[in-house]
């Protein structure tokens, strides 16, 4: 089972539909400050089921919808899809490829899809759970995690250990 690609549309600074494909081995993402690299890791967190907008640097969930620039109007919806290969049949469903999609509208309405079939967020989470992607506790790691992991309150370390158990 491996990650094939991620598709972003209207997510934060990704006004246009963008596809990022991944091969085996290590992919490096580079670019100037503020160009959108961490927005990609936010997108992955979000499509894996992150419900806390603060962990996406926002205050409300619609902070993640492209909110326009001085010359571009805001969009009404954000959509992220994660495409995984099912070559090892790690997913107990009969598809060669698993595409998990999450959408949110300005109204607050959310939509979730597995291979274009509408479903609930918990269906996505259950599907991903056994493959180790059930939460992004240690799938997405950023600089601020150092102080959190080593901090006085050992809560973060505990959460990650429970994740691993």
């Amino acid at each position: 089972m491996f990650l094939k690609r991620i598709e972003l549309f209207g997510f934060k600074s990704f006004m246009n539909k963008i596809t990022v494909a991944f091969g085996e081995g290590t992919t490096c993402v580079i670019g100037p400050n503020g160009c959108g690299k961490s927005n990609i890791s936010d997108a992955i967190r979000w499509v894996l089921g992150e419900q806390n907008p603060r962990l996406l640097r926002g205050e409300t969930m619609d902070d993640i919808i492209f909110n326009g620039t001085r010359t571009r109007r805001p969009l009404g919806m954000a959509e992220v899809s994660l495409v995984l290969s099912n070559d090892t049949h790690a997913f107990p469903i009969d598809y060669a490829e698993i595409k998990v999609t999450r959408r949110v509208y300005r109204s607050g309405l959310s939509e979730y899809l597995i291979n274009k079939n509408p479903c609930r967020l918990k269906d996505i989470r259950n599907l991903l759970m056994d493959t180790g992607l059930g939460s992004s506790a240690y799938t997405v790691m950023e600089r601020s995690m150092t102080d959190q992991l080593l901090g006085n309150t050992s809560t973060n370390l505990r959460i990650m250990l429970e994740e691993a158990a």
Binding site: G25, V29, C35, T139, M145, A165
Partner: protein, 167 residues
């Protein structure tokens, strides 16, 4: 649940010691369960002693030593339950050149069973990548992604980037 947690804890603890020694080359570290009678509630403490230094509070360690210790915890967890893919966002920023090198060797070893997506500003890290993407904002506030080959022209066309990666 209690014995499962304890079991995981012991394994991660052992991994952590080993990973720490690999990344720091010298010194030792441990994961301590403060209240062994109460595994599901107990405070957990990380102790780390790089090089020949004397063990001291983790707060006294340098920025780079703390970052590398946190990275050791991360890889200790991956050894126990690997994630199929992993996003590392600028974890190498506080590390000196030698430590970046050891971090990248570890990413390479783990890379055999985990796809890593590494966000970075560090040249050493860029050079170690199998694939390289550049994120740009030609139009201010609007992100685009291009495939990059170090030393080559940037590939402007995203479809071409995808096809060239997935064959």
């Amino acid at each position: 649940a209690r014995s499962l947690f304890l079991d995981t804890f012991q394994k991660v603890r052992k991994n952590f010691s080993e990973v720490f020694r690999t990344l720091f080359q010298e010194g030792e570290a441990d994961l301590i369960m403060v209240d062994e009678a109460n595994p599901l509630e107990s405070d957990l403490e990380i102790v780390a002693r790089p090089g020949q230094k004397r063990a001291q509070r983790i707060a006294l360690l340098s920025g780079g030593e703390r970052a590398l210790t946190a990275i050791s915890v991360l890889f200790a967890l991956y050894l126990e339950k690997p994630s199929p893919f992993c996003i590392l966002d600028e974890l190498d920023a506080p590390l000196d050149d030698a430590n970046v090198g050891r971090f990248l060797e570890m990413v390479k070893r783990f890379g055999k069973r985990t796809q890593f997506v590494v966000i970075t500003h560090n040249r050493q890290t860029m050079e170690a990548a199998n694939y390289l993407y550049g994120v740009t904002m030609q139009e201010s506030g609007v992100s685009r992604v291009v495939s990059v080959r170090l030393g080559d022209e940037a590939v402007e066309n995203e479809d071409e980037a995808i096809r060239s990666i997935q064959g």
